[in-house]
């Protein structure tokens, strides 16, 4: 299993945790590309917070700010300009692993803080901001000040992400005052819509990401793991078991990282920013 897959597995576990707490099962982890370690995570909390904007990505940004931002403030007072140059603790060092494509709001937020890359599981058909409805991350999108574009790569644990959403919508239906017909309660575990890779990444980029042997998947809109594989290519134990410890486990990892002193934001970043000015 690749490191990318391991990070996305953490996000999927968190999403399952969200489902078990009555939230939309969407979650993410932020990873420092330099350290290859999780530096923040977020879980959808729209229900708990009575707030339509408490999406996983924004929760993670907030957590990241609280833990690493210190009194320096992630804003750095620049408001819109990307900071740092890929050093640990800078925005451009962040890579996001999120189970569902960021919505337009989150895609815009991720661009405004200046992350370098987003991996997402499945597309967000209604609100997707990384290619499905709009492409806030693309170089063609110019309405976000001087922020650099970022790459968005779909597909990792896509079917697991879709299944969690299906679990959620069946529960929601059952709660609705006018329950829909019973037929809807049988969750479809077999059929998955094609993944239109071309909407999100170029063919070459796909090859670099997943290897040239997989290019037929790009050409035929196929999942990375899928049809013809046992269990429809789905890791059922990942999504069908509760992950009650995942929040604690990730928090412990962040605590350990903080104690190690290998990852800073506050003062270190300021120095980095100043040295940027000199050069």
């Amino acid at each position: 299993m690749t490191e990318d897959e391991l990070f996305m597995r953490d996000a999927v576990r968190l999403a399952r945790h969200a489902l078990d707490h009555g939230e939309t099962p969407v979650a993410c982890v932020f990873v420092s590309r330099a350290l290859r370690e999780v530096v923040a995570f977020g879980v959808n909390a729209t229900s708990r917070d009575h707030c339509g904007t408490a999406h996983a990505e924004l929760q993670a940004i907030r957590q990241w700010q609280e833990r690493w931002g210190g009194s320096g403030g992630a804003s750095g007072g620049t408001g819109g300009e990307a900071t740092g140059t890929g050093v640990p603790g800078s925005f451009s060092d962040l890579c996001v692993y999120v189970t569902v494509e960021p919505c337009v709001m989150c895609a815009s937020a991720l661009r405004q803080i200046g992350v370098s890359k987003v991996y997402f599981g499945c597309a967000n058909d209604r609100f997707g901001g990384n290619g499905t409805v709009l492409s806030l991350n693309s170089p063609q999108s110019r309405s976000l000040g001087a922020t650099p574009p970022y790459a968005a790569v779909p597909g990792l644990f896509r079917r697991e992400a879709i299944m969690l959403l299906r679990y959620f919508y069946v529960r929601e239906n059952d709660k609705a005052p006018q329950a829909r017909s019973k037929g809807n309660r049988d969750i479809n575990t077999r059929d998955f819509p094609p993944l239109h890779w071309g909407r999100y990444i170029g063919r070459e980029e796909f090859g670099r990401e997943f290897g040239s042997r997989e290019l037929h998947r790009y050409d035929d809109d196929l999942d990375l793991a899928g049809d013809g594989v046992a269990d429809h290519g789905i890791d059922w134990t990942l999504i069908d078991s509760r992950h009650d410890r995942i929040v604690d486990a990730l928090t412990e990892r962040l605590d350990t990282l903080e104690r190690s002193g290998r990852y800073h934001f506050g003062k270190k970043r300021k120095i980095a920013a100043e040295s940027n000015i000199i050069t």
Partner: protein
């Protein structure tokens, strides 16, 4: 329907301006390009039409989330012998068994259900397009430009609007005086609790906040906190779910993040003062032309107006600032 003559406000329907001050921000490209919705139609004998019309009146017309008043309900079939009748949208009746159940209950004799009928969600804005759309999609009535009707139906409390725009402008100026480099202010008005307006300022330069704490994002959070605090307060009469039907007033045209946040929060209306030609996301000419509040693909909408009078002098921002 609100009749044009009953509306005491001065509305320029051509330019879409209310009281010479509020410019309706809408993506007109959307209006002149048919947005099709799936409907259920049935093939019936002409003598059944009365019963079917009764069914529509009693069971579907008023309940349907899609207003179908602009389409003719009945058209002749190709062989001219039977009538094809639109019963309801597929948003009202989601599956075939539900439709069949209703038809059976109302004792309608029909030859078949026609599944693939699509009609325009909203009628076209000009009479010329009626003929084109009627041939291409489905026969349509001309009830005037649908946007005239939309404009007429909107409610404007001009005194309240002026008061709030004045207050956010004053707050923005005082933010600027106290050193906030992002003097942007928004006001959130709960339709069920108009007296308790929530104001929010841009906090991105404040060390305890982050660079995404734009005034609209903070306002939405404040509304959520107020609701949470009043969750068990029986005397609280305000809205208890998101910002449903809220009016939002803001000094500068929102960026894509904030504009989308307003969709997630289900607000009814946003009125802004200063447009942001580079970073705005509501006006057709702003930024990438997303028109987020009237983007067909996003399938959720709120009304947007820009105050075009010179009464409110909001602080100038650098062009590349996302608000």
């Amino acid at each position: 329907m609100v009749k044009k003559c009953n509306n005491t406000l001065k509305i320029d329907y051509k330019k879409c301006i209310v009281e010479e001050r509020l410019l309706q921000i809408v993506n007109l490209e959307n209006v002149n390009e048919a947005d099709l919705v799936d409907v259920w139609a049935i093939d019936i004998e002409p003598r059944e039409s009365r019963k079917v019309i009764d069914l529509i009146r009693c069971h579907t017309q008023d309940q349907d989330p899609i207003n179908l008043q602009h389409i003719k309900r009945i058209k002749k079939s190709h062989d001219n012998k039977t009538l094809i009748t639109v019963v309801a949208s597929k948003e009202l009746i989601s599956d075939l068994s539900e439709l069949e159940c209703l038809l059976k209950k109302e004792e309608i004799n029909y030859k078949s259900v026609i599944e693939d009928v699509k009609v325009p969600r909203i009628g076209p804005s000009t009479k010329e397009l009626i003929t084109e759309w009627s041939t291409k999609y489905w026969p349509i009535n001309w009830n005037g430009n649908p946007n005239d009707q939309i404009l007429t139906s909107y409610e404007f409390d001009m005194d309240l609007i002026k008061d709030l725009l004045g207050r956010i402008t004053a707050k923005a100026s005082s933010e600027q005086l106290t050193g906030n480099r992002f003097p942007i202010v928004s006001a959130f008005v709960d339709p069920k609790d108009k007296a308790n307006v929530l104001f929010a300022t841009d906090k991105r330069c404040n060390p305890s906040y982050n660079m995404l704490d734009h005034s609209i994002m903070r306002g939405i959070r404040k509304v959520a906190e107020r609701q949470k605090a009043n969750a068990f307060n029986k005397t609280f009469t305000g809205t208890t779910y998101l910002c449903v039907d809220y009016d939002v007033y803001t000094t500068h045209e929102p960026c894509s993040m904030c504009a989308m946040a307003l969709i997630h929060s289900r607000v009814k209306r946003c009125i802004f003062i200063k447009d942001m030609p580079e970073t705005g996301s509501l006006k057709v000419g702003s930024g990438d032309g997303y028109c987020i509040h009237s983007n067909k693909a996003l399938n959720s909408k709120y009304e947007v107006f820009q105050w075009i009078g010179s009464e409110y002098d909001v602080p100038k921002l650098s062009k590349s600032t996302c608000t």
